[in-house]
């Protein structure tokens, strides 16, 4: 199962380390990372894939949101299907 994680907020040391550490512990593989500055905000996009024994996406969404709250960032995860539905016919 594939998903995209978006991290939005002020740039700071340790964002990738914190998110990738959490993902490694939860058995989620990072396939791609890109970063950009959007309207003055640091925006990171990660393409990830869930291993078979990873937790369901709603639980991971909760963990990422907690991590985001801790770091003052908006961190969210969305199943690949919503992007494909909206942007591909």
């Amino acid at each position: 199962m594939k998903a995209f994680i978006t991290v939005i907020g002020a740039d700071r040391i340790g964002i990738i380390a914190a998110v990738s550490g959490l993902l490694a512990a939860e058995k989620i593989n990072i396939e791609d990372i890109s970063q950009t500055i959007l309207q003055g905000n640091f925006t990171m996009i990660m393409a990830v894939s869930f291993s078979e024994d990873a937790k369901p996406i709603d639980e991971i969404a909760h963990l990422l949101r907690e991590k985001g709250d801790e770091m003052g960032l908006d961190i969210s995860i969305r199943h690949m299907a919503i992007f494909e539905a909206m942007h591909r016919i």
Binding site: F4, T36, D74, R78, I82, A85, M86, H87
Partner: protein
């Protein structure tokens, strides 16, 4: 592969522009719940609703987390209760059973306290209609509707005459809560059997046992898209609305299919709606103003709304395999900050609202009127609005709230998604003789359309 701009666009539509799924509504057939006594029927109704929809809220929340899109409401609609209670006429037991079941499964509204009487009302349907004021005052979550007309059957004026009084009684019975009972009651022409939106949702007898219908939203997304073409012509305006509606509806289709699968129910329809909320940035009126009106309600409003409504449907229709419900732009006054402001400043009148309903979805919706408005005037407003639906072969509806103790110039606060509104002026010219005549208005001619 999805590129980063597409990902960011989706995230911004959800985070900043209020793209959401307005409702996942499960339609539940109660035809197998008719028992020998009213108590037995009520027990079966409660059991079936709870059994069918016990996982609706948790599943809706899970899907919301999975796709990162808010799913604002999870609701249930049921078979018209006038049919389920027909053999014993004790409808209040059924209203209480529905209310209790809704509370048990955690949904804020359950729709279907309904009678379909477009051609004639039986004794049992009349009994249900007469029980509406009490049913809406002793329950919190039950929503009620009556279909009084159709393009094929014409208009049942006997019932419309009665409903003016029923709405007044409902207002009085819930006077201590700003007459909120009336916000849970809709009068329809050409009611649809698969509408996911409250208060008018019911589960038609032609539907399956358990159906998932989804209503999308996103006025803020459309407005923001329009801001990118401040000087575009109306062809450009239509094009950008269509593209946006397509994307919004695709999310609805995805959520509906996922919900149907997870809940082991049949996928019914996606309702392509622009449904506003009182939150800033979630207003249909603001879209019309973005197209180029100084304020909604002025000249040009009906044309802009016609354009918007049609473009939303054209954009959405290809995005879903089954489109239904009330699909179109909604213009509930108390639930849309731009409409509230226009009503407040006098830019928007009841008469202009009526004209607007000829070209968009639903009808005279969530309009607060003086508490002393006579029953026959309420009936006549209903008759006017219903005529628009019948002649134009579309669904129209009326949800008026005569707020007891309040008059023009005052405000009413309903709270939550129901919003707040100024009390609007109503013509006092008496339609008493017309309404008291009773009878039916015949179905309109469908040739020589002028």
């Amino acid at each position: 592969m999805i590129n980063k701009y597409e990902i960011i666009e989706t995230v911004q539509m959800i985070n900043e522009r209020h793209l959401d799924i307005r409702t996942i509504t499960m339609g539940v057939s109660l035809l197998d719940c008719i028992g020998t006594t009213s108590k037995a029927t009520a027990r079966k109704v409660y059991d079936k609703v709870v059994r069918s929809a016990k996982d609706l809220v948790t599943t809706g929340d899970k899907i919301g987390e999975m796709y990162g899109v808010p799913i604002v409401n999870k609701r249930v609609s049921v078979t018209p209760i006038s049919l389920i209670g027909a053999s014993h006429l004790n409808y209040l037991d059924l209203a209480c059973a529905l209310d209790k079941a809704a509370a048990e499964i955690g949904v804020n509204f359950i729709g279907g306290y309904t009678a379909l009487v477009q051609k004639g009302a039986t004794a049992y349907e009349t009994a249900l209609i007469e029980s509406i004021p009490e049913a809406l005052s002793i329950t919190k979550r039950v929503c009620s509707s009556v279909n009084v007309a159709s393009t094929r059957a014409g208009i049942n004026m006997n019932v419309i005459c009665r409903l003016g009084e029923i709405i007044r009684r409902t207002a009085i019975a819930t006077a201590s809560e700003s007459s909120i009972g009336c916000a849970k009651f809709v009068v329809f022409a050409n009611a649809v059997e698969d509408n996911p939106f409250m208060a008018g949702a019911f589960h038609g007898v032609g539907e399956g046992d358990r159906i998932i219908n989804v209503g999308v939203s996103g006025p803020g997304v459309v407005k923001t898209a329009l801001e990118s073409i401040p000087d575009g012509n109306l062809d450009d305006v239509c094009e950008i609305i269509k593209r946006t509606a397509f994307k919004v509806t695709r999310v609805g289709q995805l959520v509906a299919q996922t919900a149907a699968k997870m809940l082991d129910a049949q996928f019914g329809i996606v309702d392509l709606s622009l449904a506003p909320t009182p939150a800033a940035g979630d207003s249909v009126a603001r879209i019309l103003e973005e197209i180029g009106l100084e304020q909604v309600g002025g000249a040009g409003t009906t044309a802009c709304l016609a354009l918007l409504n049609d473009a939303v449907k054209k954009g959405g229709i290809m995005a879903s395999s089954h489109v239904g419900g009330l699909s179109g732009a909604f213009i509930p006054v108390s639930e849309d900050i731009g409409m509230i402001e226009a009503a407040d400043s006098g830019a928007l009148s009841l008469e202009k609202l009526e004209a607007m309903t000829a070209v968009c979805s639903v009808g005279l919706d969530m309009i607060a009127i003086p508490g002393d408005t006579p029953a026959e005037i309420i009936s006549a407003i209903i008759a006017d609005e219903i005529s628009i639906g019948v002649v134009n072969n579309k669904t129209t509806a009326v949800r008026l709230i005569p707020v007891i103790g309040k008059d023009v110039g005052e405000y009413v606060e309903f709270g939550g998604l129901l919003g707040h509104a100024p009390i609007m002026k109503v013509s006092k010219i008496s339609p008493k003789k017309f309404i008291s005549r009773g009878g039916r208005i015949a179905a309109p001619l469908h040739s020589n359309r002028n």
